[in-house]
Symmetry: D2
Subunit: 142 residues, 4 copies
């Protein structure tokens, strides 16, 4: 089943995030309270042993959770991370990483979110991090 | 008062973290259970509104906390983040950011750490994020 | 399908937790990395508006996650919470609460866990809290 | 220096929390973004080894953080915990426990808080837990 098309406002927002370009990350899908981001293990995103830095798993996990939350909000809203927690389960080693964000409870003032980051090597999938946090809707900058 | 010199093993470990180079980050100090990292707001580390991405504050905060923990460990040990939580207080806007990590409770099996990330503009300092987490000592890869 | 029988060592450990008796909590099941605890909304566990205090949802969620972890460990081991985070989704109102803990990643040194706390009123089930944290195996006190 | 008097609205709110009575907890001070709660190690609040249950440290830490936040809000507001994370540093053993909550960043929509829980035995003070979280102002129930 193909991923549903990404709303242009979500894609445009994602494309303005230069950190995502630095990570080589792409928005795979974002609709109905769920978003998926894919990123390779680029040479410039490593920790001291050559695995992906915690900031990579955090960055794509947090961003996937953010677009999951934004996908449930009306046009013209934006969303910011208020707080998020990550547990790192295994070193970030693989051909690429996939972060799946989902809204656990949407809200007018707060949205509670979760994300899971998976390392993919061939057909192997291994969960390397889980996140749980809070997104807040904000008015876009004028 | 000048910062105390950074032990070569800590500097060498930091220098192997390509994510820190991508962020333009430098290790300012690391000794006695406290470490400081400084990073500018590079064009490639932004979120959709031009502020620093949450992964920047997270990345330097987490890494400062890690070197704070490592500074208390004997030569030949390494440290990994088991988990960490970040609360984002304000948008990451400023000339540069400083992350201060400290060990709250060192341990043989777990070290509890905290970090604070400050945005600096001229003489102005504003806390933009606080982190609390757990580092685990690991044997270095052979 | 009936719950699988609870191993006597897990039940005995639970029965020594006087906080669980104070909460009126019972261990419903605990095996294979999953545990369920049930508790009523007693008069003595409330916050200022009469809903269950955050410490109630936390207490049964944390404990369910702990027995989920312990159910995967060999006889004679114990488990302690290293850290845990709770997001509260809705006020703790209902006839009773059910906390379901599960192990996301078991480990010799750390087990990553999650829990969900549900309020039950008649046939209605509403998730009121989610938790994510870390359990550490410990040697039992002599 | 004596503690400043506790505003009657804060004391009245605390007194409605039956969980605090169950814990034998008292509100020692609450003003200017800081609150202190004291609690003994009652027989009914233990985990399986006789130390205080994690829900005790969590409960008084969370509540101290909540009254710290509430102390900065205008009359007629209430505050709820949106999320909070606890790291447990040492077993909760001592004659009594003191939780000190403080506001790191007050806000109209979110207040970021921290708390520290200390075990006290004679003149000995030992930090047993640290917490970091988010409080949200709410309109009081009608």
């Amino acid at each position: 089943m193909p991923d549903s098309p990404i709303a242009p406002r979500l894609q445009a927002s994602f494309d303005r995030q230069t950190m995502m370009a630095t990570f080589g990350a792409t928005l795979v899908s974002a609709s109905g309270g769920r978003a998926v981001i894919s990123a390779p293990l680029l040479p410039g995103v490593r920790q001291q042993h050559g695995a992906g830095h915690a900031a990579l798993a955090f960055g794509i996990g947090d961003t996937a959770a953010g677009y999951a939350a934004l996908s449930l909000m009306p046009e013209g809203r934006e969303v910011m991370t208020a707080e998020i927690k990550i547990n790192l389960l295994s070193p970030a080693l693989g051909e690429r990483f996939e972060a799946v964000g989902e809204v656990v409870k949407p809200g007018r003032r707060l949205s509670v979110v979760r994300a899971e980051v998976v390392a993919i090597t061939g057909t192997l999938r291994k969960t390397i991090a889980i996140l749980q946090g809070t997104m807040v809707p904000v008015d876009p900058a004028p």
